[in-house]
């Protein structure tokens, strides 16, 4: 309703001279004043980004606005109404220069090891009142792995945003991804996980009339152990028949008991990675 009144007041034709001096720029959350010239009483409306203020003013005096009165950055319209006389002018409320919080988007939260440029981080710099600080500021982005190695980039924000990409390490484990600016920091954890199994091999031994088949400790091509729970598929082919079983890795290896058929071929695979094949010789 206040905005409606203000707009209605603007639409009225000026009949009596009023004057106000607006500051060229106001910092969000800071105190400021609007001096007026003339005599008598008037009403000052300030309308802008999600805020509207009404003040009764004494013409010829400055109207004081305390700290925190205007806190959303953006364009504002000041309207001074004195009887039938109206004056309006725009001014800009800029974000506070001091960063207070960071919006830090780090993607993905989990990725395989050894991916070049696989991790991206985007930083949004905000002031105390959550206004995006659009003036260029240097942001430090650091990716520290559990092994102690660190990648560090310093990027200058552009329109309030800075972003970069980092490589995932060759060794698995969580990495701390930290964005830092002027004493303010935000941390994300990136989980670097092993890649596909590499050099999958199996051995077999007799076990009470069956054959126990087990893998060697399963690693990826960088030597990281494949996590427990990963499925390894064993296939045994014999006499035009076949047995298959999907076995999760447990304590680094996958093991299964299968029917013992002399001459059977036993092979192993995990996902799209195939391992070796052995021929069961009936106890050998």
């Amino acid at each position: 309703m206040l905005i409606g009144l203000a707009l209605a007041a603007v639409s009225m034709a000026p009949a009596q001279s009023v004057h106000m001096s607006l500051p060229p720029s106001v910092t969000a959350g800071s105190a400021f004043s609007i001096p007026t010239a003339g005599s008598g009483k008037a009403v000052l409306y300030i309308v802008g980004q999600g805020q509207a203020i009404r003040r009764d003013v004494q013409m010829g005096e400055a109207t004081m606005f305390p700290a925190g009165a205007l806190y959303n950055a953006g364009e504002y319209l000041a309207i001074l109404v004195n009887g039938a006389s109206t004056e309006s002018a725009g001014f800009y409320v800029s974000p506070a220069p001091q960063p207070e919080t960071l919006g830090f988007l780090a993607k993905p939260s989990r990725l395989p090891v050894g991916i070049r440029g696989g991790i991206s981080g985007a930083v949004y710099v905000f002031d105390t009142y959550h206004n995006l600080i659009t003036t260029p500021l240097p942001v430090s982005l650091e990716l520290a792995n559990a092994s102690g190695t660190m990648q560090s980039h310093t990027i200058t924000t552009r329109n309030g945003v800075a972003w970069t990409t980092m490589d995932s390490a060759a060794k698995e484990g969580p990495a701390k991804f930290v964005a830092r600016i002027a004493g303010v920091s935000s941390t994300r954890v990136i989980d670097q996980v092993p890649g596909d199994p590499c050099g999958l091999t199996i051995t077999a031994r007799p076990n009470n009339g069956k054959v126990t088949v087990q893998t060697a400790p399963v690693h990826d091509c960088s030597g990281n152990p494949i996590p427990d729970g990963t499925i390894v598929t064993f296939t045994e082919t014999y006499n035009d028949q076949q047995s298959t079983v999907d076995v999760p890795i447990k304590q680094g290896i996958a093991r299964v008991d299968m029917p013992a058929y002399p001459g059977a071929k036993i092979s192993v695979a995990s996902g799209v990675v195939a391992g070796n094949e052995i021929r069961w010789g009936g106890g050998k």
């Binding site: 939260s109 989990r110 427990d228 076949q242 079983v245 999907d246 447990k250 996902g271 799209v272």
Partner: protein, 377 residues
């Protein structure tokens, strides 16, 4: 009287006549389903066929006591054992199945005994399954009675089976987290094979999906058929023809059916795999033993499932992918197992394969999707 009034009068008279006929000479089945007696559905067991048909009718009516009482060999087992043979010892698809229909075929008959084949077609929430029993029917005085071939389910002796398979639990992003904090990443899945075929019933899109991540995934696949001008023709999901819970590096086949669509209408297919991170357990492990491809006629894949874990698997769904000699996907078939999988107890499965495709098949891969009562997934 105009024609409209005459027609109304004729219809009203016909309705009254039909109601009267139905009341005076009701159909026996209608009497039963209206809450009347069921004796009218049964006939004297004066022939082996009638004895088997009466047994089938009693099973269909869930009249377990009367069905059991009618058996000639009831002294060999108890009524609960007879009931468990038909409805399963543990919770399974049979537990809530209803007998949709049955068929009786005479195999052999003499003056005192006969052999009859009874095909029982049960309805379940996932479709129908058939249970075939070869029955011996014996003459006892002036009537015939069925010698029921009880299938006793094997039970493992009481024991403790230590299970220490991995389990994944997930903590998702909470309402109190700041807007920039990332949620747990959805599992990365990939379609590694896709093959559309034209069948009489429509287009069938088959393929295989890999969970290439290190966390479990709940997956499904959606396909959209696009016409040659790029406009969508139809969009369908894999529904139950997929193993929805995929552990890390596990592969599942999928089938998406588009009834009443011809492949000649299709310009391209848009595939959309979906994955959600879920809590899951690496247990149970099911071994698919003795898989045998049986060529046409009656092409099929047969084998046995062996539950290597300690918990009962209530519902198992076998999905098989069939390949040609070049490793190209030819067909995907599946079968629900109507009985629960008891620990260490093999259960047979049978997957039918279209005759025209069977001759191309040289290899197959089988996975089992499971559901256990009381487990999260």
């Amino acid at each position: 009287m105009n024609k409209g009034n005459l027609l109304a009068l004729v219809l009203a008279a016909a309705t009254v006549v039909l109601v009267a006929v139905g009341t005076v000479w009701p159909v026996k089945a209608a009497v039963f389903y209206a809450g009347g007696g069921k004796e009218g559905l049964l006939r004297p067991s004066s022939t082996p066929e009638e004895a088997v048909e009466n047994l089938g009718t009693q099973i269909r009516l869930l009249a377990w006591e009367k069905a059991y009482e009618s058996l000639s060999n009831k002294a060999e087992f108890t009524e609960p054992e007879f009931l468990h043979d038909l409805t399963g010892y543990a919770l399974s698809l049979r537990t809530y199945a209803t007998l949709d229909s049955f068929e009786v075929q005479p195999l052999h008959q003499s003056a005192t005994d006969a052999e009859m084949r009874m095909k029982l077609r049960w309805s379940t929430v996932v479709g129908t399954f058939q249970d075939t029993r070869d029955l011996r029917v014996v003459k006892s005085g002036d009537h015939w009675a069925v010698d029921w071939p009880l299938v006793k389910e094997q039970h493992v002796p009481p024991q403790v089976i230590p299970v220490n398979y991995l389990r994944w639990d997930v903590i998702y992003r909470g309402a109190g987290d700041d807007w920039g904090s990332q949620d747990v990443e959805a599992p990365h899945v990939r379609i590694i094979d896709m093959h559309p075929v034209n069948r009489a019933e429509g287009v069938v899109v088959m393929g295989e999906l890999l969970n290439e991540d290190v966390v479990p995934a709940f997956v499904s696949v959606r396909a959209t058929l696009l016409a040659k001008n790029g406009s969508p023709l139809a969009s369908e999901g894999s529904f139950d023809m997929i193993s929805h819970t995929l552990l890390p590096k596990q592969v599942t086949p999928f089938v998406i059916r588009f009834p009443d669509v011809d492949l000649s209408q299709v310009g391209s297919i848009r595939m959309q795999p979906l994955s959600v991170l879920v809590s899951a357990s690496a247990d149970p492990v099911i071994e698919v033993q003795d898989q045998k491809f049986n060529p046409a006629p009656g092409a099929s894949l047969t084998g046995q499932l062996s539950n290597q874990s300690g918990q009962v698997v209530n519902i198992a769904h076998v999905l098989s992918t069939f390949y040609d000699k070049n490793g190209q996907l030819v067909w995907v078939g599946g079968q629900y197992i109507d009985r629960a999988l008891q620990p260490q107890t093999p259960v047979a499965f049978h997957i039918a394969i279209p005759e025209d495709l069977a001759k191309k098949i040289t290899n197959q891969r089988t996975v089992v999707a499971t559901y256990s009562s009381g487990s999260s997934l």
